[in-house]
């Protein structure tokens, strides 16, 4: 793996800033440590850490209701756990939010290394949530597309972060 085919945390941060994100509601996963260091050093970005991914949905809804622009950062395992909260607090309240979801178990070869990857896209299709796969810096414009689609539809849109390249780690 080279830097050229990985997803850098700086690229993700640049997308957050370019799209006006004010708050990150998140629970760490194994790929995001360096992104955390970047986010926490930005005085204009508020981090709201949660203890279970489903909590992020109602917090993001409250932030949106009050005029902020939150983004949710979780892993696919927690997204599956969060189904009813996504339905009720995000879809039900017309919250246009981008969820950056670590795609644990995904490999571009199609060889799944964790059962959660088997269910991730099926889950999103069942909930009728649009999603985009981002594996490296060249894919970063899909994050901007996700923000635009969320605003247009007033619904959540997911960006799946391909796990194989471990782009957030160094």
């Amino acid at each position: 793996m080279t830097a050229a085919n990985s997803l850098s945390p700086e690229t993700v941060m640049a997308q957050m800033k370019a799209n006006g994100v004010t708050d990150i509601v998140w629970l760490p996963d194994s790929e995001t440590n360096f992104l955390y260091l970047l986010m926490s050093s930005d005085p204009d970005l508020r981090l709201v850490g949660v203890t279970r991914e489903g909590h992020a949905m109602s917090i993001a809804a409250g932030l949106f209701a009050g005029g902020r622009k939150p983004m949710i950062l979780i892993q696919n395992t927690g997204m599956l756990e969060s189904g009813d909260s996504i339905r009720g607090w995000l879809m039900g309240l017309d919250v246009p939010v981008v969820m950056l979801v670590g795609y644990r178990g995904y490999t571009r070869h199609g060889v799944i290394t964790d059962t959660v990857a088997h269910y991730t896209e099926r889950f999103l299709m069942a909930f009728d949530i649009p999603f985009y796969l981002v594996e490296n810096d060249d894919d970063a414009d899909r994050i901007a597309i996700a923000f635009k689609q969320a605003e247009q539809t007033r619904k959540p849109v997911v960006v799946l972060v391909g796990d194989e390249f471990h782009g957030f780690n160094r």
């Binding site: 850490g49 489903g54 949905m57 109602s58 917090i59 932030l63 607090w89």
Partner: protein, 193 residues
Amino acid sequence: MMNTADLIEAFAKHRGDAIVISGRGGRHWIRQSDTALDIPLGDPAMGGHAGFGLGLALAQPNKRVVLFDSEGDILMSLGQLPTIAEQAPANFYHFVLDNEVYATTGGQPVPGSKIVDYAGIARSSGYPRAMSFSELDEFTAALPGIFAAPGPVFVSCKVYPEVENTPIGQRVRWRKKSAAQVVADLRGALGAG
């Protein structure tokens, strides 16, 4: 034990310009006030009201945000309490209506209903102020002090259950707007829509 309607009426005198997320007290609060700053969401997904209140309080630091939560919701999402305490919104007033049962499903007991100290859990989670009331006169007397100091504050209130046994489809619908419309109206009132 208190009647929720009495508790809500006592609070109304101290509401000021607060945003009120009426939660489990919604059917009573709508008789007191029904403006864009009154937020009856129904039950989007149980356990999430505290998170919504936190997000709204963080987004609107210059407005008091009052939430009427329930003990069943609290137990579903205990992990939200440390998050609220860590963020420490000084404008967040978190009331919990503890009726010891799941009233909307017929009154089945909430696990631990007679032994859990919700204010104690909040205090241990980091809320700087947490208190409990079971008598209306004591609650009413304490309200000025509750709002005189900054939050987050957690106020656990023992209330009589208002058990519903009518099938959901046959229940009287007291909400006038969808939850999405409530949020849209709030954003409009706040200049964020």
